[in-house]
Amino acid sequence: VGVWAAAVAGAVIGASALTDDGPATRAPGPAASAAPAGPPPGGPYVVGDRVRMSFGVASVGSVVKVTGPAYAMGLERRPGDRVFQAQLTLVNLERRAVVYDPKLVTLAPRRGVGAVTIATGSADRGRIEALAAHRFAIRFALAPGVPLPQLRLRDPAGGRAAAVVLGDTRGLDTLDLAEHHPAGQPPTGGRGR
């Protein structure tokens, strides 16, 4: 009886191993979503949504909490302030250069928001070449306990500003300015790269 019980157990183990495609099956590449993941018409917009602009598209990408040495922050902080960074990607679909003045980006409400810097990188004074994408880094200080403000984006052609909700401060990834790793820690094999 014992031999037969073990034999049945072995048959079950073997059959399950042969039918289990887990490790032996290659998953296809990640699939895209079926429908355009757009915001509801007229907003409100959240991180990742595509905001239509007269020249193309703007979208706010990752929002991270910035840590690291104070000298590398690039802005003045009051004691206790936390620093955050949002990335604004601007895609110019026009066949001519456009200027997206950093002043068109504001934070609201202003209560509790300290210093703000907008780095345009190589896009000198916000000039984006024809058929090109560019990223602005918006870094701001926030008083303790104050929730993340909204990012207001105005179209250079005029019209009402689009408000983009940045979410809340819980669970944000951390950008350590000393290590330059977006997720706060390097991937497994990051040592020595």
Binding site: V3, A6, A7, A9, G10, A11, I13, G14, A17, L18, D20, G22, P23, A24, T25, R26, A27, P28, G29, P30, A31, A32, S33, A35, P36, A37, P39, P44, V46, V47, G48, R50, V57, V60, G61, S62, T89, V91, N92, L93, G121, L131, A133, R135, A163, V165, G167, D168, R170, G171, H180, H181, A183, P187, T188, G189, G190, R191, G192, R193
Partner: protein
């Protein structure tokens, strides 16, 4: 009851036969469970188990025969027969387990007690039914002299009434061995054939792959959206896979959809878009169709094209839309053809003039390098949504996202299912072993993958094996667009490995408490821009790792750890998305709530106000006032 030496020998031989069958089953199950090349090939494992278990089988089988008393003599009760069969089965299973354990130890693996017990159960699953069947069936086939000779001995004493005992007919040694050998061979061959482990047959197969051309949006690593055109498996939901579903087996699956040289490949291509598209498999690395394996086929909008073609020479091929911008938007994938002669994990069959591969290739992986330009995606989604060709000159394409198998740095370095080779370290003094990596550049940028830890050997370029004697050892490999290079990564570290091994030369594996028994080496692209995403996010570009395991148990634990980390990342990502959706809903409700509650409040207040205090419309108030004035003073 004493047993004769002949019976003990017979018990031993029977155990060996059962061992052969059980070994095939064990090797098959181990091969099925071996993820990411943790096991050697099933055929060699089978032979190893059978050879290493033969001696124990002979000894244990004889012991079982002795313990069970006389063998299959006439007059034996059925229950006794079953008990003796169980003993022989146990002996054979034990021998198979010993053989499997010895094989594992020789491979440098660990031997947990649980695994030994499990292998014993697995082996019994074959030996118990086989031994029982032999015990009951063999005598029916056999007849004969032994039976006749045995009959007088079993006859009752003179004068006694002949009894009708529950007996089974006797057997002969020849019949017994014939049936035993036949059963064992059938079981072994059946098990191996079921998993496709047998050597190649001359017969060619037809393999069908059904792909659908579609498009859709996808989250990019900086959480913005990108529009992709691509392929998916017909009948599956969602948008395109990125890259497209593989045609053939790109690894590291042990077996799945293999295409061998000479097979017929049937493609059923459905165009689910409003645009016409093309489909091309080009033999060379040229942009145009100069020596096509297939195509360029025209696939009109909304239609299906069914085409068959003979599998070309073994190698790695790229299928794609013939238009470069569509390829860059995601319309590409690999076709992997394996050599008929050797069949497993090798880039090509040995032949005169070809580079010889004196190496055991444990597994194969395919790394598809792709890159993505958001401007191209936006144009495809908007201006050229219904146009096959996206008018965007190649010199203007500036990719800002770089992928390996559709994933960027942090994801790609945790994906043991498709990307990260996890290899048990080569045992010193044994045959050289490693993994085959098929590197394909489907993008627009030239890449330069650089392996830490060891150099790689280029063995095949664009489905053409390297020449005999041309051994190219590289730590950085140049990859032009459309190039396909097959390289062998040895399963050990080089002298200049970085990160460096520990100071202990006999134990060159990092003792990282988070990854015990595992040393992790990165692979990154030396074209520096492609290590980043979205114009600067490092290390979210073309990076991944390869892992070297001290032994098989460490390799298995490492694979489990990566799978768990990936599952946790999915949970965290979903949690973030939920929080964002919640924030959007709150904001929407707040925006919508500004107008409505005011109206509702006003209406409710009016209802609550006493009737006499309600404000009357001006006309009614005036009318009432006039009526009051007209009434006589007395009434007022």
């Amino acid at each position: 009851m004493r047993t004769t030496s002949r019976e003990r020998t017979r018990g031993g031989i029977l155990a060996v036969l059962l061992l052969v069958a059980a070994g095939a089953w064990l090797a098959t199950v181990h091969a099925a469970e071996a993820a990411a090349g943790a096991e050697p090939s099933a055929l060699s494992a089978w032979l190893s188990i059978a050879l290493l278990g033969a001696a124990p089988a002979l000894v244990l089988g004889a012991a079982a025969a002795r313990a069970g008393g006389r063998g299959l003599e006439p007059g034996l009760l059925a229950s006794d027969r079953a008990a003796r069969a169980a003993l022989v089965a146990l002996a054979a299973a034990g021998a198979a387990t010993v053989g499997a354990a010895a094989t594992e130890l020789l491979d440098g693996g660990a031997l947990p007690a649980g695994d030994v017990l499990r292998d014993l159960c697995l082996a019994l699953a074959v030996t118990a039914p086989a031994a029982t069947a032999l015990a009951f069936l063999a005598p029916r086939q056999a007849r004969t002299a032994a039976a006749v000779a045995a009959a007088p001995a079993a006859a009752p004493a003179a004068g006694a009434a002949p009894a009708r005992p529950r007996v089974v007919a006797p057997t002969t040694r020849r019949g017994f061995l014939q049936l035993g050998a036949g059963s064992a061979t059938t079981a072994a061959v059946g098990a191996m054939a079921a998993r496709g482990i047998l050597p190649a047959t001359a017969e060619a197969n037809t393999l069908t792959f059904q792909l659908t051309i579609t498009d859709g949006w996808r989250d990019l690593v900086d959480r913005t959206q990108g529009f992709f055109r691509g392929f998916k498996v017909t009948g599956t939901g969602g948008g395109p896979s990125f890259p497209g579903p593989p045609i053939g087996n790109p690894g590291p699956a042990v077996s799945a959809n293999e295409i061998f040289e000479g097979d017929t490949v049937r493609l059923v291509l459905t165009n689910d878009t409003t645009r016409n598209h093309t489909f091309l498999i080009e033999r060379t690395a040229n942009e145009g169709a100069t020596d096509p394996v297939l195509g360029p086929l025209r696939i009109p909008a909304g239609q299906t094209v069914d085409v068959s073609f003979p599998a070309p020479q073994a190698g790695t091929y790229l299928y794609r839309d013939a238009h470069v911008n569509n390829r860059l938007l995601g319309m590409h994938g690999v076709m992997v053809v394996q050599p008929q002669a050797t069949r497993r994990n090798v880039p090509y069959a040995p032949a005169p003039g070809r580079l010889a591969l004196p190496i055991q290739v444990r597994n194969q992986y395919t790394w598809i390098f792709s890159d993505y330009d958001q401007v191209l995606g936006e144009l495809a989604a908007t201006t050229y949504a219904n146009s096959e060709v996206v008018e965007y000159p190649l010199e203007q394409v500036v990719p800002r996202f770089f992928y390996i198998n559709g994933e960027t740095g942090d994801e790609a370095s945790h994906n043991e299912r498709t990307t990260v080779p996890v290899v048990p370290e080569q045992v010193e003094g044994r045959e050289m072993d490693g993994v085959l990596i098929r590197v394909v550049n489907a993008g627009v940028a030239t890449h330069a993958p650089h392996w830490h830890g060891n150099h790689v050997f280029i063995v095949q370029r664009n489905a053409v094996p390297e020449r005999q004697g041309l051994v190219q050892e590289r730590d950085v490999v140049r990859m032009e667009p459309l190039w396909r290079l097959d390289v062998i990564l040895p399963a050990h570290t080089g002298y200049d490995a970085f990160p460096p091994p520990t100071a202990d030369p006999d134990h060159p594996v990092l003792h990282d408490p988070e990854h015990p028994g595992i040393q992790i080496f990165p692979m990154h692209c030396h074209a520096e821009m492609s290590q980043t995403a979205a114009g600067g996010m490092y290390p979210l570009g073309q990076l991944t790792d390869w892992h070297l395991g001290e032994h098989a148990a460490a390799v298995a634990a490492d694979i489990d750890r990566m799978a768990a980390a990936r599952a946790q990342a999915r949970v965290d990502g979903a949690s973030k998305e939920n929080r964002l959706r919640l924030a959007r809903a709150k904001l929407k409700a707040r925006q919508a709530g500004r107008a409505k509650p005011v109206k509702r409040k006003a209406k409710a207040a009016r209802k609550r106000r006493p009737l006499k205090k309600r404000r009357q419309p001006a006309k009614r108030r005036l009318k009432a006032s006039r009526a009051r004035r007209r009434r006589p003073r007395k009434e007022r």
